[in-house]
């Protein structure tokens, strides 16, 4: 398993990271999607500490009425943290699109919704003069369990180097309500969906394998010898390998002597 984190120290580092990144681009505000789940709750709590609660806007963007508890939990969390929030129903535009282009594929529908939410977040980024805060954790990034240009899109990601099980530790330290901490993680693409049901492994199992692969640089054989189930290791390795494209900007065909993405290399955080 990934080691237990020193949660107060992690909080200090991430709060400073959010503050520094926003400070550099002259932004004082952050905007993020609030799903009612754990990751967005932790990100909202960190942002509230970094920027002050009134400088954080949480957008709750349900499709239809199938997730009343998620909307309720998200709004209650915003109230508890003292951050501003707004509920934006994405049903009309999603329904309009799929009426014209029907599909029976639930994942395709879910991806479309995730990208709609991303578009709304970026629109509010301009309205508010706020940066979009990402909420993807390390487990999701490694498995590719997210929608490219959807929930994976953001200006900065404070949580991308914390495994899901470590996000839970941080959540407990940040006093995220138990109701949010204990519910089954879900991408919320359809009612009853859960991450662990989709992947077929618990987050404890997944994180133990990922930690061995990534930080431990272990081979499949070594992980199995250390007690991981062979089929589980294979499944995780397959997901990591198949999702490499989600962790990169698209490759640019190199033609010239000096090219964007290849050898025209500048830091993201240059002072403007």
């Amino acid at each position: 398993m990934p080691p237990k984190i020193n949660a107060p120290f992690v909080e200090k580092v991430l709060v400073a990271f959010i503050r520094d990144e926003l400070g550099r681009c002259g932004c004082k505000k952050g905007v993020l999607g609030l799903s009612g789940g754990l990751d967005s709750a932790v990100c909202a709590a960190l942002a509230a500490r970094a920027l002050g609660p009134r400088s954080v806007l949480g957008l709750i963007m349900p499709y239809g009425t199938a997730f009343p508890r998620e909307v309720r939990d998200a709004a209650a969390l915003a109230g508890r943290l003292g951050i501003r929030h707004e509920i934006i129903d994405i049903t009309p535009q999603i329904d309009l699109y799929f009426a014209a282009h029907p599909t029976g594929n639930r994942v395709q529908c879910g991806n479309k919704m995730a990208r709609e939410r991303m578009a709304i977040l970026y629109d509010h980024s301009v309205r508010e003069g706020a940066l979009v805060l990402g909420t993807s954790n390390k487990t999701e990034l490694l498995l590719g369990y997210g929608t490219v240009f959807g929930d994976l899109a953001c200006a900065i990601n404070p949580m991308g180097d914390l495994y899901k099980t470590q996000v839970r530790e941080l959540a407990a330290h940040l006093r995220i309500p138990a109701g949010i901490r204990r519910k089954a993680p879900t991408a919320g693409l359809w009612p009853g969906q859960t991450d662990e049901g989709d992947i077929g492994l618990t987050y404890e199992e997944i994180d133990a394998i990922l930690y061995g692969l990534v930080e431990g640089r272990k081979s499949r054989r070594e992980l199995v010898a250390a007690g991981c189930a062979g089929a589980a290791v294979d499944r995780v390795v397959r997901m990591v390998e198949a999702s490499e494209f989600k962790r990169h900007l698209p490759p640019i065909a190199k033609l010239s002597i000096r090219s964007v993405g290849h050898d025209f290399l500048y830091p993201y955080d240059r002072e403007k």
């Binding site: 080691p3 107060p8 200090k12 400073a16 520094d20 290399l265 830091p267 955080d269 002072e271």
Partner: protein, 284 residues
Amino acid sequence: MKIAVAQIVPKLGDVEANVAIHLGLLDKARKQKAGLVVFPELGLTGYTLKDLAEEVALDPASDPRFKRIVAGTKGLSAVVGFVEESPADPGLFYNAAAFVADGRVVHVHRKVFLPTGGIFEEAKFFAAGRDFRAFRAPFGRAGLLVCRDFLQYGSSYAHHAAGAGFIICISAAPGRGVAGGDAFETSRMWELMGEAVSYFSTAFVVYANRVGSEDGVTFAGGSFVFAPGGRLVARASPVEPELMICQVDPAAVREARRKWFFQRDEKPEAVWRSLERIVRAPED
């Protein structure tokens, strides 16, 4: 003597702003009667420069901004980190540290070990220095190192063999590992070396690291000063900027060397012969 370690957050790519930060802290340290002020690696430029390296490079002998820093060292000494491009080596950009004392550049060290691998890519953008040279500082013989130089222990040995009583390392070391105490796990690595080098070189070790973050990487702070014999004099915060000022007695070098004979008994010629053989016949 008071040593001040300026654990700062440089502004990436903005030399003018960083000169102002340096001048402000030189002033503040002088008011507190510091004899030496040590700034972190690439303090005048920020660390994650990539192709910006050549845009922020300067010649310490002629650059007007650097001259303002040099002029700001009247009555004290300072170690300053910057990107060097000298007229003698045009087109070569060095990750460098200058020792400046009382309005004069005394010595420039060019980083020898450029970490390249994992999160580091310095050798893609910098030329490597080739020498460790101790020099005479107002408070005793000293040697400079830049960050990774310090972790390759031959570097400190070279200064030890030259008799340095002050080994000064400037750094921009990122923090990695959050499962430990109230600091990054990698901070232990630097302190371990600092303690050992100060013990076995019977020398002061001054380590100035930076804080803040660039491109997602947080720098681990934790600057420290060890007195000869591995005695921790002061340690700075792992995250917060700070001007850490501590009192040291340069006579401690003499005291330690009367008690422990590592310096007296050193045989660089034996080490040199061995190294020469190894370098000439690496496959033997």
